[in-house]
């Protein structure tokens, strides 16, 4: 990997990939991993959520860690709306991807 790509901020596709990988990792750590495929439409909060609240915490922390390891990007993914079904930036893979991009660009 070139030094330039290490320093540049990741694009949306790369961020979405990291978010999906983080969710997959959290699913794999659950005692009974469901066979659900993870896409941008996957819900992370609410009745259709694929993760429980601890699974969500694990996924978020995995995403933070991957951003640091793979892109040298340091962000804190913490938000007071975290557990709100309506407004949470963590409600789906898509909204979480948008939120991560926002945080990186902030």
């Amino acid at each position: 990997m070139s030094e330039l790509s290490l320093q540049s901020k990741p694009h949306r596709a790369a961020v979405a990939e990291i978010v999906i990988a983080g969710v997959r990792e959290a699913l794999a750590m659950a005692t009974e991993p469901p066979t659900t495929e993870v896409t941008e439409d996957t819900f992370l909060i609410g009745q259709s959520a694929v993760l429980d609240s601890m699974g969500l915490v694990t996924a978020i922390l995995e995403i933070e860690q991957r951003l640091a390891d793979e892109h040298d990007v340091t962000v804190v993914l913490a938000d007071e709306r975290a557990m709100s079904q309506k407004n949470s930036p963590f409600r789906s893979v898509r909204s979480l991807t948008d939120y991560v991009l926002q945080q990186i660009q902030a």
């Binding site: 601890m54 922390l61 933070e64 860690q65 640091a68 340091t74 804190v76 913490a78």
Partner: protein, 235 residues
């Protein structure tokens, strides 16, 4: 087993420095931090210049620990500031400063440290309270309130982090002869000592002894506890 990695906040002087040096003697890798540069250094010790209430700086410090050691086993949240004043004469800025360092600082370092600890399913967090909490000391309302916040936070955190193999406990020292109590008048100190079952000033060794107990691998069933030195109770 790999060498244990420990982070001691407020390690420039006083108890923090003493603990850092003890851990080095025990063969651990020691990381420390403070707002001002320390006048000491040692092989195996790395110092970070930062304010524990600075979120970005705390995050950077923990990222640096992760990069260099790949782990963090023990966190000693010793950094703290005190203030002696009557409530009616206390400016808001003092309240904000104490809550920022004592409570928000403890919170931030715990949050970022626990993220590293959970990966290895092992962690020991020790936070600091004070006898000013159980004694409800007059003149120390804000200091005691900030440390009371640390205690309750630690006890809830203990529940939230239990499944990651991380324990969270509190040590509450009596007055010790450090800079923190330099401004406390002698009659005030005597008043505190008279209320302690064991009537003497604390020593660094007393604090280290409680911490040694909390961080032992065998203490994996001990979490959310407060040990108050000098025989006091009722946090």
């Amino acid at each position: 087993m790999d060498k244990r990695v420990v982070l001691v906040t407020g390690s420039r002087k006083g108890i923090g420095r003493y603990l850092a040096e003890q851990f080095l003697q025990q063969g651990m890798i020691v990381e420390g931090c403070s707002r001002n540069a320390p006048e000491w250094n040692a092989a195996g010790y790395t110092h970070h210049l930062l304010d524990v209430a600075d979120e970005a700086a705390v995050k950077t410090m923990l990222a640096s620990i992760q990069k260099r050691h790949g782990r963090l086993d023990i966190l000693i949240n010793n950094a703290g500031v005190a203030s002696l004043n009557h409530s009616l004469l206390t400016p808001l800025s003092t309240v904000e400063k104490l809550m920022a360092t004592n409570f928000a600082g403890t919170f931030l370092v715990c949050r970022e440290a626990a993220k590293l600890m959970r990966k290895h399913k092992f962690g020991r967090i020790v936070n600091f309270s004070t006898v000013a909490v159980p004694l409800r000391l007059e003149g120390e309302a804000i200091y005691a309130a900030s440390k009371s916040a640390v205690t309750v936070y630690t006890q809830v955190l203990a529940r939230e982090l239990a499944e990651f193999g991380i324990t969270c406990n509190v040590v509450a020292p009596t007055p010790i002869d450090t800079d923190l109590i330099r401004g406390v008048p002698k009659d005030k100190l005597d008043l505190i000592l008279r209320q302690q079952p064991i009537k003497r000033l604390g020593r660094f060794e007393d604090v280290a002894n409680v911490i040694d107990f909390f961080i032992r691998p065998e203490s994996d069933f001990i979490t959310g506890q407060v040990i108050i030195l000098g025989g006091l109770h009722g946090h």
